[in-house]
Amino acid sequence: MTDAWIYGTHGSERTTRLLAELGFSPHRVAANGTLRPPAGGGRAPALAVILADGLEQPSCSELCARLAADESLGEVPVLVALASAGLAEGIGVTEGHELLVEPFTADELQARIARARHAVNGVDHEDIVRVGSLEMNLATYQVAIGGRPVDFTYMEYELLKFLVTHPRRVFSREALLSRVWGYDYYGGARTVDVHVRRVRAKLGSENAARIKTVRSVGYRWEGT
């Protein structure tokens, strides 16, 4: 789940190394206009890094637009890295969710990633998401409501985590099945409804109401 995809070639070796040091599994995406790396492209990554310097086909803004429009990559946090010499031209500075200026240190990269994930997924620098009385620790798989631990099964946890880190967007049952369950599910499309009911029962009324049923479409998490 901690995959990071890298687009562009400028400084890609160094970026790959820094990401690996921060605990990500970096995958480089070929510069032929594809959106996904040749291996490990089945699941959405935790983040995408676009090395915009020298990127032409597709351009940085085109790439960002295509990522945002993609069914399963739409809410991946995107960091755009620019060379300091090119900053004055303004190309790419408003793209993505967070800007990196080359050369950047591992500490800066870590901080920028934390900012992008917080902006997009609501995850703070300790991998904790807080929504009202609900606290979800993504590093330890623990969920607490008003400070009291709540015990979820693995799939209940994964479903809640997905919804909580992708707030305000409606997901169809099929999208949730393929993104949360992958190929390992058993009860058909009803599985999603059954698990939502289980998660709501454990969340208690205040937080259960944050999982909105969007009639004949799917579900949406009402985050802050």
Binding site: R36, D151, R173, D184, R190, R197, R198, A201, K202
Partner: protein, 446 residues
């Protein structure tokens, strides 16, 4: 986008195992209970300390396979239990010393399937159905009694209240108990649709929201222990015995069955009938094999005392839309509620092996679809309308089951043989027993 190949069910994935290991550490869980069910659906459990968890997840835990075969410990043979991390759940009724459970897949030491594992058998049948594009959804209404602490074996238990159907009074001890039970169930991921006091004193019903068949069978297994724990904490005793009190209705477990093709309920129809052609053929299959599977839906000598005495318990292989006594009730069609199309199987009792019952219901229904069975005429006003009778007792039911080609094909010879041997021992034990009936009828007369 290149899709990863489908993973076989049960193949270990590090994400889940990490979740289990990390949760155990973070929450301070001290013991893990590994759960499996024997051939009668009775829960068996053994505990491992947390230090053994990692190796249990990767290599399984050895145990004696005869413990799954219903107390027939004649030959011991080793099998391996693999805990299923998907079913990892902290038990809510042990707040002081945290204990978690996982259901196990039981396999032969050479990794081959173990025929005595009814849970694995249900999963195999579900996989076959999934290959045809079908998934079965099941909801259960479970009835049971809670009594005051039990005296010696054979005493008539004391009822706790005189609550009547749907009564809600401050004196009803049962409502405390139901609230506690429902909290436990929801913490275990088993949502409850409704609960109420039943017709008989001390009798309760809790309706479990529909889910896929394997989750439902696991839920019923978990339900029985959660209810017993909640009753125990209140100084009472809960029983799923089908007919504990002669003068009052017994406990059933009505099962609401529907079949989905992807997102679509295959039983739904826009026509006047309550069931689609697929639904009618499926139901015809279930009715055609209802007599074969009675030994499993009603697996105890005591089960037949519930079926014998009416109180809405079925006696004939019949179906109805409005009556109360048929084997199957088909609820009226509700326009716009396609997902709700279903039928209600009314014979099972809450002490059945839910895994085996659901495996047989699904196999019988699919056979009805494959072979295009015609649905018999509806029974009106609870008249059997020429429908055959359900087996009268466990002996007749066991003979029918033993000869059932559907049961053998679905469950495998091993599970069938072990089950039949177990039931024949129960019958032999009963044949040798002098009962209250003998004494009250004969002692003075003869």
């Amino acid at each position: 986008m290149t899709d990863p190949p489908p993973r076989p069910y049960g193949a270990g994935v590090t994400g889940r195992e990490q979740f289990v290991l990390r949760t155990v550490e973070e929450r301070g869980v001290r013991f893990i209970r590994l759960w499996f069910v024997d051939v009668l659906g009775l829960l068996k459990s053994f505990s491992i300390p947390v230090s053994e968890l990692e190796s249990a997840l990767s290599d399984g835990v050895g145990l004696d396979g005869s413990s799954l075969e219903g107390a027939s410990r004649q030959r011991e043979h080793d099998v391996i239990a693999y805990p299923d991390p998907r079913t990892f759940q902290v038990l809510p009724w042990k707040p002081d010393s945290l204990v978690a459970r996982m259901f196990c897949d039981v396999r032969q030491p050479d990794d081959g399937p173990f025929g005595g594992d009814s849970r694995a058998t249900l999963r195999r049948v579900l996989e076959q159905a999934a290959g045809l594009g079908y998934t079965m959804q099941v909801g259960c209404e479970v009835e049971f009694f809670i009594f005051g602490a039990l005296g010696s074996n054979g005493d008539v238990p004391t009822t706790l209240d005189d609550g009547a159907y749907f009564d809600l009074t401050p004196l009803d001890v049962g409502s405390d108990f139901r609230r506690r039970t429902i909290e436990y169930l929801e913490q275990m991921g088993i949502p409850v649709k409704a609960s109420h006091h039943e017709v008989a004193p001390s009798q309760h019903e809790i309706q479990l929201a529909h889910t896929d068949a394997l989750s439902m069978a696991d839920a019923v297994t978990t339900f029985r222990i959660a209810v017993k724990e909640a009753a125990h904490e209140l100084g009472a005793y809960a029983t799923f015995m089908p007919k504990p009190l002669a003068a009052h209705p017994g406990s059933g477990m009505h099962m609401h069955i529907s079949l989905f093709e992807g997102d679509r309920n295959a039983f739904h129809t826009d026509a006047e009938e309550s069931l689609s052609p697929t639904g009618r053929a499926f139901l015809a299959g279930v009715l055609a094999h209802a007599r074969d599977m009675t030994a499993v839906t009603n697996q105890w000598i005591n089960s037949y005392r519930r079926l014998a005495t009416g109180f809405e318990a079925p006696e004939f292989v019949s179906w109805t839309r409005r009556g109360a006594a048929a084997l199957v009730r088909v609820p009226s069609r509700r326009p716009g509620r396609a997902a709700g199309a279903r039928f209600e199987l009314r014979s099972p009792d809450p002490s059945c092996n839910t895994y085996m019952v659901l495996a047989l219901v699904l196999a019988a229904g699919l056979r009805g679809i494959e072979r295009g069975y015609e649905l018999q005429a509806e029974s009106i006003d609870d008249e059997p309308n020429g429908a055959p009778r359900l087996p009268l007792d466990l002996r007749e039911a066991t003979d029918l089951f033993d000869d059932s080609e559907l049961a053998r094909e679905t469950l495998g010879d091993r599970l069938c043989d072990v089950f039949v041997a177990n039931k024949r021992r129960e019958l032999a034990d009963e044949r040798r027993t002098v009962t209250e009936f003998d004494r009250s009828r004969y002692l003075r007369l003869l």
